[in-house]
């Protein structure tokens, strides 16, 4: 019998609503964290996973309180402890690693000083021993040259390095339990894979128990031994990672896994209808009833208990879990294939576009020229056909959003032209573009909370383009708004709602409706699904695809999520440091990644499968600026040839599938080398 680090007994946490009702956010949570075990807690936003993680530290957010139950650490209930007692436990015995390390490190203190502070607080080491310990900790989290890092300020480190420092600080007190709240969510794909690998190593090396909270099943699959799936404040599934992800016996987990786009499969994933109920709205029955495809009448009246299934060594909260047994493993062959009618004429022609963020000096301002030999984005040549979905992928800083903004006219290009509809050159200056060109290109943004005016009703939001481009008024306008909303499957009663009254998916639908109201030819999608929950993401992707099939719109789709790109795009352009690396049909780019960077990127993608480990080919260094000369990827390339890569810009090569890559290595040699690995 393994030693138990923490035990949660019958824990309920909630708040009292304005009407005096007691509303639970966590309902009767029972679980044990064993020594050396890594437990992943997954759930969509609002499922109570963060509240549970914080309760494990004896912290309950302001406005919330413990309704019943206890959280036992060494047989003491930490939820009832006084602050003084908690000080001895928090950070020392139970440590936390927050989501955004950049914000949790004090910006004006050096890294070494901050770790030293943690050591002073949590250990009894003397000054000279502490210095050694700092180096040891930084070494443990695999930061290069610890002495140099200790002398730096947080802003001098990259996001991945900051997260490593946060891990080092958490390890300072040699904790029994490490709580990680979405620790890799804001990081790039390659960095994320490296940090997760580090966490795995630390878990094995130190024997620390970990609780890993995330919405990302891919990350959970890589680190966890056991997974707890939460829905609406309840544990719905609790068992070993392989059983949960390969044979989910709860309909929610089943649906969730089906709605995740996979790297190995083209076509759109199935979406799950509806959204998670607000706390306090479910009075009786199963909280998943409304969205469940296996629901029966009894599910509406009785709430299922968490029941242990021997066969899978898993606890499940469902009456019908036996039915799901028979479904066996996840069947993904049903995913919908894209049917895009691509007409072979160029709707957008981007030729040798460069964009520079360099600030003009006073003299240059007078002469009205920009002198920048090494612009942020350089030499972009892409032709886009009508009805096509082109995806731009790359890590942060790859210039993908910058290119999108320059197409929309929000950023001025330095060189090159963007031609619309074969002949019309789009002006660099937004104010000089005519109304028709403006109408033809619409944008959808990442975060609908920011892209919808909080003080406008849905009606006002959707009416903006209709009034501006078509001059509609009165009844005609209203009819048109209703028509557009119907297209995105929102009923008429949404007209008077404000964005804050809508769920995340509904908000993004309104944003989509606003873009389509202009009857655009091209829609620029800037990370449109990354702020959404997984199940909602699939629904939005499906909606975008259907609208496209109806209207023949062209999409330019920017995303850092390679699996999403795989699902929706016809063609992919891979960018690194504002330079194109590879461009080609999605199928062939994903099947035979030829450019070394594409290979690195695809290798680092996390699949929600514990048996598929990411391949960590290149280092996760972040480069501030593109190199002055030679290939843009020279700094991180695992297949670097030598001097030629540093001096000459690599030539374009095209293979038989239509993949174009920019590399000095012959395309067929690259493929051979990649097959060997």
């Amino acid at each position: 019998m393994q030693q138990v680090v923490q035990e949660i007994k019958n824990l309920s946490i909630g708040f009292t609503s304005k009407k005096g009702q007691q509303i639970s956010i966590l309902k009767n949570i029972n679980t044990k964290i064993k020594k050396g075990e890594t437990v992943g807690i997954v759930g969509e936003s609002g499922s109570g996973k963060s509240t549970l993680a914080l309760a494990m530290m004896g912290y309950v957010k302001h406005g919330l309180y413990t309704i019943s139950g206890e959280c036992l650490y060494q047989s003491n209930n930490i939820l009832k402890m006084k602050n003084r007692e908690l000080e001895g436990i928090r950070g020392r015995k139970i440590a936390m690693i927050p989501q955004n390390a950049g914000q949790s490190l004090t910006p004006n203190l050096k890294i070494g000083y901050q770790i030293d502070e943690a050591l002073k607080l949590h250990t009894n080491l003397k000054k000279e021993n502490r210095d050694n310990k700092i180096s040891e900790l930084l070494n443990k989290v695999r930061l290069p040259s610890p002495e140099a890092i200790a002398k730096r300020y947080p802003h001098e480190l990259s996001g991945g390095q900051q997260q490593r420092v946060a891990v080092a600080m958490a390890l300072a007190g040699n904790p029994d339990l490490l709580l990680l709240d979405e620790p890799t969510t804001g990081l790039d794909v390659t960095t994320q894979a490296h940090v997760l690998e580090l966490l795995n190593f630390i878990a094995k090396d130190t024997g620390t128990s970990m609780v890993y909270v995330s919405h990302d099943l891919g990350a959970i699959a890589q680190v966890s031994d056991r997974v707890i799936v939460m829905y609406s404040g309840e544990i719905v599934l609790d068992g070993p990672v392989r059983n949960i992800l390969k044979n989910p016996i709860h309909p929610y987990t089943y649906g969730l896994l089906k709605s995740i786009p996979k790297l190995t499969l083209s076509g759109l994933p199935d979406s799950m209808s509806g959204s998670q109920p607000q706390p306090g709205t479910i009075k009786q029955g199963c909280s998943f009833y409304v969205r469940c495809q296996f629901a029966e009448d009894k599910c509406k009246i009785n709430s299922p208990k968490l029941e242990f299934v021997d066969e899978f060594n898993t606890s499940v909260r469902c009456f019908n879990h036996k039915k799901l047994h028979k479904q066996k493993s996840i069947d993904t062959s049903s995913s919908k294939q894209l049917i895009n009618k691509i007409q072979k004429n160029e709707i957008l022609d981007i030729s040798s576009v460069s964009i520079s963020y360099a600030k003009q000096k006073f003299l240059e301002q007078l002469l009205n020229k920009i002198d920048d030999s090494n612009p942020t984005v350089k030499d972009i040549n892409i032709n886009i056909d009508k009805g096509e979905t082109l995806a731009l992928v790359g890590e942060s800083g790859s210039g993908k959003s910058t290119i999108l903004k320059s197409i929309a006219g929000l950023i001025k290009t330095k060189d090159g032209t963007i031609k619309f509809d074969k002949k019309k050159i789009l002006s660099n200056d937004l104010k000089k573009r005519d109304a028709n060109n403006l109408r033809a290109i619409q944008l959808i943004f990442q975060n609908p909370d920011e892209s919808l005016n909080p003080n406008h009703t849905v009606e006002e939001i959707v009416s903006q383009p209709l009034k501006l481009y078509f001059g509609l008024t009165g009844e005609e306008l209203k009819q048109k708004i209703i028509e557009v909303l119907e297209k995105v499957r929102l009923g008429e009663f949404y007209l008077t709602r404000y964005p804050r009254q809508l769920s995340g998916g509904e908000k993004q639908r309104v944003a989509v409706a606003r873009a389509f109201a202009a009857k655009p030819d091209i829609i620029l999608c800037d990370e449109v699904t990354s702020a959404l929950d997984v199940s909602v993401q699939a629904a939005v992707l499906n909606l975008l695809q259907e609208l496209k099939e109806d209207f023949g719109t062209t999409y330019i789709f920017v995303s850092h999520d390679l699996a999403v790109v795989r699902a929706i795009s016809d063609r992919v352009a891979v960018l690194y440091q504002g330079r194109l690396c590879e461009i080609g049909p999605s199928d062939s780019v994903y099947k035979f990644p030829s450019h070394p960077y594409t290979e690195v990127l695809l290798g680092a993608v996390l699949e929600p499968d514990p048996d598929v480990k990411p391949k960590l080919v290149a280092e996760d260094i972040v480069e501030e600026k593109p190199p002055e000369k030679g290939c843009s990827f020279q700094g991180r390339c695992p297949r670097i040839l030598g001097e030629i890569c540093k001096t000459n810009v690599p030539p374009w090569q095209i293979d038989e599938n239509g993949n174009a890559i920019r590399c000095h290595i012959k395309i067929n040699d690259l493929k051979k080398q990649q097959k060997l690995n």
Binding site: G46, Q278, G409, E450, L452, Q501
Partner: protein
Amino acid sequence: MNSTIKEEKPKNTISKVLEVILTMVSRPSGLIGLIILIFHVTLAITSPLYVPHDYKAIDPSLMLQPPSSEYWFGTDSLGRDVFTRTILGGRTALTVTFFGSLIALLWGGAVGIFCGLVGGKIDDVVMRIIDAFLSIPWILAMLLIVSLLGTSIIVLIPALGFFYGKGIVRVARAATHDVIAKDFIVSARARGHSNFSIIWNEILPNVRDAIMVEGAMRWSWMLLGFSSLSFLGFGVSPPTPDWGLMISNARGLMSFAYWSVLAPIFGLSSLIIGINLTADAFAKALGIDRSTKAPV
């Protein structure tokens, strides 16, 4: 699928205002502030109808009478009834400062939003001019204007409005900067809306609250400023009753006729407290969406 979202009926302007007022009076400080403010405003509007004495009737035989049943707050050095003069004394101050802060609100808000939106050189130049004005002691500048153009209301209202609007420019500009980076503004720009349309439709609804609260705060400061001018003899001309002027006239007699100075002081300070409390509650009532959200 929408059963989970709280049903909320669309609101028109009247019900929105009503909701704000209800939230304001739900706190004791807001309730007290609003009562004081309404009391003062009603008094200012209706007092000429029921004052017990003539405010300018001079009677040397009644000089510096202590409070009595006839003269509730006593009489001043010219034998005028202090009670009458006190309840009439807020009229000019309230009128001038109310319209003054309205002007401050309008020009300050307009310039602030415009500068925040366009940015660049125009913003730089305008803001430096504002800074230059901020560095001039306002009372000196006011004295200069008043001595050049006279002390009529027509001069005082715009002059006060101008000087108190400078602060609002900064607040409006900062509030605009908060929303300007949001994607809904970028989206409106990309659609090709004009600057005016962006200000009117996208920015104004989001900065309106901040500017209104700032305006309400400025009102009480302006009241104090206006009374200071009167105190110095540059505000209202005698014999029009005014608190600042009354305090100024009676300040030498404070040691033996405290009543003649106490009543106007009480009038002035209670009105300022009333406005401040109301403005505070107003701010809290407008910020309600964020603070009372369920802590999920």
